[in-house]
């Protein structure tokens, strides 16, 4: 019997020893890489020695020089980088290139997929040896220390941001990549473009809109505080859901009827959605948008996933085409 214990205790100690052995190696190797990084950065220092302190959601990060190898863990940041004329080396694209909307795919070079936005692959990110990582507060907060170990990391709101939040994030990204002035110019151009688009909306537009992701699991209306909702209302399209305590309300048919939107934009996810089930329901047919044939199917990647400057312009063009050009 004693032997069993001895055996077991031996085994546990082997693991612990192995673990500690691994650990005792680790600081050494980390030091080495630090030294390498230091020599590298001193090498770069000769070209641009300026370093900036970027304030973001998780505190402050010091960034030296012009980051060139950037990993983007949300599509918003890809949009921001593409607007600034930078091509990220790594994107958390959910392992599906087609999620990158075309106008942006045209602007960026080939990149390496670092897996899903939900659980981006740290091994791949570190193998890319980036000099800047841009991550999302909601999704990546818990791996912030690990990301910081790989490269300077800034954490912004993308998933939970509204249109203004996205613009603010863009400015931070422009600072981080040392293009603050260029960024301000681009933002100015973007605002002009938005004004032009707004001018195409008739003054007397009073109809209410409801953008929504429609999936088999439910109908997710984006209210006035959401990114898509706030974007549409910035050019004068009133959201059917003005006040809600959540930005993406999962609502049922009765609630759709109650909000009674005059226009609906459906971001369709999957082949079969709840709307297919509702189609024959007389309640649904009484919804103002359905009655007046103002239900438009739009691209979910562009309308909901990207949340950036380029995609904002695309969404509004898309909306105006649907509403006023036919």
């Amino acid at each position: 019997m004693k032997k069993v214990y001895v055996g077991f205790i031996l085994m546990i100690s082997i693991f612990v020893l192995a673990a500690c052995g691994g650990q005792s190696d680790e600081p050494a190797s980390a030091d080495e890489t630090n030294q390498q990084e230091e020599t590298e950065t001193t090498g770069e220092d000769q070209t641009s020695s300026e370093s900036r302190v970027i304030t973001h959601e998780m505190g402050e990060t010091t960034i030296t020089g012009d980051p060139k190898k950037i990993v983007a863990l949300e599509f918003s940041y890809v949009d921001a980088l593409a607007s600034l004329g930078i091509s990220p080396i790594g994107i958390a694209d959910d392992n599906d290139e087609n999620r990158i909307i075309e106008p942006i795919r045209d602007k960026i070079d080939d990149y390496t997929s670092v897996g899903t936005r939900k659980q981006p692959n740290l091994e791949v990110i570190s193998s890319l040896e980036p000099d800047l990582i841009i991550a999302d507060l909601k999704r990546h907060k818990d791996i912030y220390p690990q990301l910081e170990e790989i490269a300077p990391t800034i954490i912004l709101g993308s998933l939970a941001a509204d249109y203004q939040g996205i613009l603010d994030g863009f400015e931070v990204i422009a600072q981080a990549v040392n293009q603050e002035e260029h960024g301000a110019e681009i933002l100015e151009l973007h605002k002009q473009k938005m004004e032009e688009l707004r001018a195409q909306i008739p003054e007397d537009e009073t109809r209410t809109v409801m953008p929504a992701v429609v999936a088999s699991s439910g109908f997710y209306a984006h209210d006035d505080d959401s990114y898509t909702g706030s974007l549409l209302s910035s050019i004068g399209l009133t959201n059917a859901i003005q006040s809600g305590d959540e930005r993406y309300n999962k609502i049922n048919l009765e609630q759709v009827v109650e909000f009674n939107p005059d226009i609906m934009f459906h971001m369709v996810a999957g082949d079969e959605t709840v709307v297919d089930e509702w189609a024959d329901n007389s309640l649904y047919q009484d919804v103002s948008a359905v009655e007046s044939d103002q239900v438009y199917q739009v691209d979910r990647n562009m309308w909901s996933r990207f949340r950036g400057l380029i995609s904002s312009e695309q969404i509004l063009e898309d909306a105006i085409n649907h509403l006023y050009k036919n």
Binding site: M11, K118, Q119
Partner: protein, 329 residues
């Protein structure tokens, strides 16, 4: 005779764990052959793969070992004190309690500092355990009451989680990874958080193995043998909570390990806890190691939550076990 067989099983399982750990270290977005890993573990520099091994793979392997042992021994202890083979940290509400408080932190306090999440999860598990004991206590705690109250508490917590998920569909993303259980993004810091718990509680549990055997004889016999049944049950319950709570705090509610590992162990070495506990621990390690290997290696660079695999391996095996138990009473 029995002991000899037990010893062989222990040694075999130990070797399996060792081999899986080495092979597992090699699996992920970049494949690293076992000889390079061994060479690196012995202290040799192997170049670019070294960083991946040291920073990402090894901590996950160690956490898989610790969590596997923690959850399965917790399950074995709970099955012992409740005297019901269906007991496990999942079933009596401990992981659900951790899950609810983790979901509250993730969803309602997105800006909370990083260390809050594991602490909150552990406290959630502890609260449920205390509530469980208080609610089940009536002139002592009956094993059956304990499990029923646990199931009820678990259901309440589950309802809370569901409510949060329906109410805040946007925030569900981050919470879901935690609720499925995943070793993604774990580092040495997590190892140091978890290690003391397992290192202290595991040997204590094994020392108390005899007490579990005595409890299994029934309360009357145990009392006849001079044991203070109530005190013992409470101590063991809180050890089980400590093991499961600390594990879940780090990796999220990884299901089924605490249920299945002790079951397989029982089939292999019978009901004597001095063997059952270590064998459960090793089997738990094997389960979590395999699950995390699949999580990393099945479709890189995509990471799949390991909890999906423990459920996929676990649930069918459990059904098989149930059928087998029916045919051989």
């Amino acid at each position: 005779m029995q002991n000899k067989k037990g010893l062989y099983i222990l040694i075999t399982l130990g070797l399996v764990v060792l081999v899986l750990s080495v092979i597992g270290t090699g699996i992920g977005a970049v494949y690293i052959p076992p000889y390079e890993i061994i060479s690196n573990l012995l202290g040799n520099d192997i170049g670019s793969n070294q960083l991946i091994i040291q920073n990402y793979r090894l901590p996950r392997i160690v956490i898989a070992l610790l969590v596997g042992a923690g959850l399965s021994v917790s399950g074995a202890v709970l099955q012992g004190i409740i005297r019901n083979p269906l007991a496990s940290p999942d079933v009596i509400g401990i992981t659900k309690g951790a899950g609810l408080s983790a979901a509250i932190v993730i969803i309602l306090f997105p800006k909370a500092p990083i260390f809050v999440l594991p602490v909150a999860a552990f406290l959630g598990a502890a609260c449920i355990a205390i509530l469980l004991y208080l609610l089940a206590y009536k002139n002592g705690v009956k094993p059956s009451t304990l499990s029923l109250v646990g199931i009820a508490l678990g259901a309440i917590c589950h309802a809370g989680i569901q409510y949060l998920m329906v109410k805040f569909p946007l925030e569900v993303n981050a919470a879901l990874v935690w609720l499925t259980g995943s070793l993604w993004g774990k580092s040495w810091d997590d190892v140091w958080l978890l290690l003391p718990w397992i290192l202290i509680l595991l040997p204590v549990t094994i020392i108390m193995a005899v007490k579990l055997d005595i409890l299994n004889l029934g309360d009357d016999v145990a009392e006849g043998l001079g044991e203070r049944v109530e005190v013992m049950r409470m101590v063991l319950l809180f050890i089980a909570v400590g093991l499961a709570g600390s594990s879940v705090a780090i990796v999220g509610s990884l299901g089924f390990v605490g249920l299945i590992a002790p079951h397989i162990a029982r089939r292999l070495v019978g009901n004597k806890h001095h063997l059952l506990l270590p064998v459960s621990a090793l089997l738990g390690m094997v389960l979590v190691l395999i699950a995390d290997m699949l999580a990393r290696g099945l479709m890189p660079p995509v990471e799949i939550p390991a909890g999906i695999f423990t459920a996929v391996i676990g649930a069918p095996y459990f059904l098989y076990l149930l059928r087998k138990m029916q045919s051989t009473p």
